[in-house]
């Protein structure tokens, strides 16, 4: 069960499954469930420590980004989130393997950043990635307006016009947010560009699917224009604050026992999978 996925690749993956690299180490912490979600979606996922990309042979366990098609920047508290969430995470990647990551994107692969991973991606400049510029920092994720870390489920409205590969076919999602620094902030002109170029992918909404319009707690952190996630111009690089990997099973949902009661009385089967998996399945399907 707790076998090291980087030395013994999953046995139940199919030959054609795309390989996914899930970053670990330095306080990142959503590695097991992100790996699980990717595997449920059909990928062959490996947990890889950041130093396997950075140090390589010195520690006798080199990993190479070029062996993968999906790169997951996962959630956690990298470097304790000191000096700003995802700040040191970003500098570690940028100044050690920045070129490798750019090449990975240019070669047509997929990148997803979740929570701390999303924070790191905007700090590197991988997002919003306007027109192939993956080096400019133009957006920030700053302290929640409520002043504290907050764990709650949110409703997300998916922008169907966005090129995002990961949200294809999705219109509405419920996922948990768990962060202290998730307020999406940028200058008005940048927000305008993002919207005009359809790079806003998911926004906080109410239970009827209407935009939160900044109201708390539907918009849990005060994000500008309710933005919860954005992608680059190609739609292959995607980052969001909510956690799709935490909705990997239908019993993750806060109201599943009520749903169950309805299924049971209606004689319907239980759904098993959580809706968050669809995000990862879209990534896997992209390579089919």
């Amino acid at each position: 069960m707790e076998k090291d996925k980087d030395i013994s690749p999953s046995t139940f993956s199919i030959r054609s499954a795309p390989k996914a690299l899930v970053l670990t180490g330095f306080g990142l912490n959503c590695d097991w469930e992100t790996t699980h979600a990717l595997e449920l979606a059909g990928a062959e996922a490996h947990r890889v420590h950041i130093n396997q990309l950075v140090m390589g042979e010195e520690i006798g366990a080199r990993a190479r980004l070029e062996d993968y098609q999906i790169f997951a920047f996962i959630g956690g508290f990298s470097w304790g989130d000191d000096h700003g969430a995802g700040v040191i995470f970003a500098s570690k990647l940028l100044y050690n393997i920045g070129e490798d990551i750019l090449r990975f994107i240019e070669e047509g692969n997929l990148v997803i950043g979740i929570c701390n991973g999303f924070q790191a991606m905007v700090n590197v400049g991988l997002l919003p990635g306007f027109d192939g510029d993956y080096r400019s920092r133009t957006v920030a994720l700053i302290g929640n307006d409520c002043g504290s870390f907050r764990d709650q489920w949110v409703h997300l409205k998916v922008e169907t016009g966005s090129p995002c590969v990961f949200t294809r076919g999705l219109e509405h999602l419920e996922l948990p947010v768990r962060h202290g620094e998730g307020k999406f902030y940028a200058e008005e002109s940048v927000i305008k560009d993002l919207e005009e170029k359809h790079q806003v992918v998911v926004r906080y909404a109410d239970s009827d699917g209407n935009l939160a319009n900044g109201s708390y707690p539907e918009n849990p952190n005060g994000s500008m224009n309710d933005i919860a996630g954005v992608c680059d111009s190609t739609g292959r690089v995607f980052g969001l604050m909510p956690h799709p990997e935490a909705y990997n099973h239908w019993t993750n949902h806060p109201n599943w026992t009520l749903f169950k009661e309805r299924y049971r009385r209606g004689g319907e089967p239980y759904p098993q999978e959580g809706y968050g998996i669809q995000i990862f399945r879209n990534a896997v399907d992209y390579f089919k």
């Binding site: 912490n29 396997q52 520690i59 040191i88 806060p254």
Partner: protein, 1002 residues
Amino acid sequence: MVARLEITLKPELFDAEGEAIRRKARDYFNIQLDEVRTIHVLTIDAQLSQEQLESARLQIFTNPVSQISSFKPLAPPFDWAIWIGFRPGVRDNPGSTAVEAMEDLFKIRFQPGESVYTSRLYLLKGKILGRDKRGYRLVERIAKELLANDLIQQWRTYSAEEWNPQEGIGIIVPKVRLAHEPTVSTLPISSDEELQALSQERNLALHPNDVPVIRSYFLRPEVRAARSEVGLSDPTDVELEYISQARSDHCNHNTFQGKFYYRDLGTGETEVVDNIFKTCIQAPTLELKERKGWVVSVLWDNAGVASFDQDTYYVITGETHNSPSNMEAYGGALTGIVGVYRDPMGTGKGSRLIAGTYGYCVGYRDYRGPLKPHLHPRRLLDGVIEGVRDGGNKSGIPTPYGQVFFDHGYMGKCLVFVTALGIMPATVSGTPSEKKTTTAGDLIIMCGGRVGKDGIHGVTASSEIYSEDTPAGHVQIGDPYTQKKMHDFLLEARDRGLIAFITDNGGGGLSSSIGESARFSKGALVELDKVPLKYEGLDLWEIWVSESQERMTVAIKPEDLKRFMQLSEKHEVESTVIGQYTDSGRLHIAYHGETCAYVDLALLESGFPQWEFEAEWVEPEHRGLREPVLSPPDNQRRILLTMLSRPNIASKEWIVRQYDHEVQGTSVVKHLVGAERDVPNDGVVLRPRLESLRGLATAQALNPTYSRIDAYHMTACTIDETVRRLLAVGGSLEHLGGVDNFCWPNIQYDPESNPDGKLKAAQLVRANWALRDYCLGFGIPLLSGKDSMYVDGNLEGDFGERHKVSGLETLQFTGTSVIEDVQRCLTMEAKVPGDFLYVLGVTRNELAGSEYYDLYGYTGLNVPQVKLEEVLPLYQTLEQSTRGEILASVHGIYRGGLGVHLALVAMAGGLGLEVELAKVPAEGVKRDDILLYSESAGRFIVTVAPEDRAEFEEKFKGLPWGCVGMVTENKKLTIRGLEGKVLLNVGLRQLKTAWKKPFGKL
């Protein structure tokens, strides 16, 4: 050179951190500020060029989108400013990560003595803040009572006039400088009195009865002969510190292993209760282990181990961190949760952490009386909440459950319970994971953090605290980041079969971890000069007993060293070989080749006398307790709303939401459930193996007010409540694991300082009798447990006098159960209109210690009692019904009674309930208020779909149940009294408003 970098949000951006402080100043002290803004300060004390500093500023520490920064002061105009930084030697986590980031960016290593110190500057604006004395007093109050704790922090205040815009705060470097050559001293022991005096002087806390044993050991001719061969004569300070640590109540549980002379003053009967640990905890648990194959490893390791499924175990333990949290709430609680996480990491060959839970007992948040605790309960609770939040969240471990209890008694000392759950494969490299041992020749490795003066003898340290650069070591701040790296590293090492033995460094530091692990191999040789230090100047005994956090002691085979160190490097965790296990029979400690300790391990295993206590039990009626003379209230509606807004009943959502309870993706039943996801469920369920449908349920209870009557029934009710909480989510009676955490006031009688010590001792004995009786009765092996005594404080009053305030006798009980298929789990909210509403179990006139009596200021006499023969058949049937999936919701009736818990079921469902009290199964109850607020044990509220009704009632035939009403669509709680008249009819909105009144805005 030293540089000071200031970073702040762009002026046009909302400063949420500053706003939180503005709000607190208003809510706590009624100080109306217009604005608070914060500046983060990094003081970089290292040989870096201007270019390097500038590059660090731009490339790491400044977000160009949201922040501005400068090596010059940034402060815009303000009325007053407050600077707050750490005292020397206090753990500065962001300072360390700043060093790490710069080392990576420049590919350099910071030299010894070089460092980065973080601090904050708060800029206050407000009309109220005059530049006069009054303004200064307000600012001083904000600094001292809101922002800084003088045990770990220093502060400075600046009025606008005083501020020098060129210099700003100047350069403040809180560096530890100890101009001290490490020494080892020999201590004379010519008489017992001399050794006792030495113990006092050096704060060794040796028990007077231990002194002759220790002395006679060092006087034995064969011991002296052996010692002289290694150059030692009288004991050294290292040796006495080691013995003192090993004999401390914390490490040795002398109280629970003590002898109690128990006298019942009513009957005049006397009984000698020898060793409550053995008779009430160990014996029942071993008996149950025989019967229950799922109990894997108990009573010896850092945590208990039980079977989760065929090839996986779960691991659990619970701790308290009361005294440190009472002094420095944030640091104490943070250190507590991070510390308890090391216990499962150090259990067997190591487990992966899967959850943590909390229990806080504190004084009332709105206390306005004359007593002056070190921290006001409101501030203390805020700090404790935040400490556990950062400790849990930054460790990547969900905090899915917890409880809070307010009582005046906890003003003397607060209680902070922290519980940890882990999981491990049943076998590691083909060997049983729960087993471990050290063997002569194994290397002793210390992993994780470095050693400083942390946690060494609180009292000695506090006498040094106010000097300029001595470390404020006795109050600690945990470092979850370093520990998370170590956790990931050690699990990888475990899976590669590299770990022979592992244990954590907690209380007693290396002294405990090596002292205890050396008992397996029967000896150890430790080279103290190899131990990596935070700063120079520690005496040898300090290195040996330091409680610096985030460290594990690991035994590995010499041939595995290279692989182990390579993994350590991969995870950037410091690991150092500091000695070797031997079979010499001795603990041998050397420093640069010179022996400084040489003690027979056998010394600690025999010959020490038991502690002794006098215990006197007086039945509650002979202590003057009576039922109050109280007529039923006229306004039942207002009573219910008042009950809901009492602090011990009211919503505490603000705490739950700050804790990441879903990381690891395992959450099944969350703590907050219902239509609006804001009502606490009975227990929580995790699915720790994501590929499996199997679940682990956990829940906790505490009922300290029942101790006012009898701690026996307090314990019984607390265990019963835990069992019901587990059953309510779908747990099974066959698998109930328990963890007992006792927190008790001092039980050592003293006519002046502890006049009721004998009663408190009797209460402890009685509580343990109940623990034995009910664990056997319910079949709960105690997987782990701890005790923390001395929950007392001496608080200053209005006139400079001091009052002793003792905490209530408290047991927190934690339960676990394994659930075969999580899809059968249940939650407490009413789900579908038209469902039938049932009450299971008997309500009696049992209001003593209840929330209802407390509302009027009464204690009462009729404490709730648990009748095993009555409740067990009911629980068995409930479990069968859960398995059969014929229930829509289950909720236990706990503190506050039926009235409160019906309201919770309705509020959670967002649905109405129509209830007839006449249908509630009861015995000897003829009053509506007693029926509504009695806290009788063994009861549930259940809802059932109409189509399942017949099957349900058939199953429960012969048991105490009543169909008391219906779930309705009308969003009202309507209760008819015993005479059939409508007693109250309240809308859900009103109920919820009342329930969220005290803490809803936090």
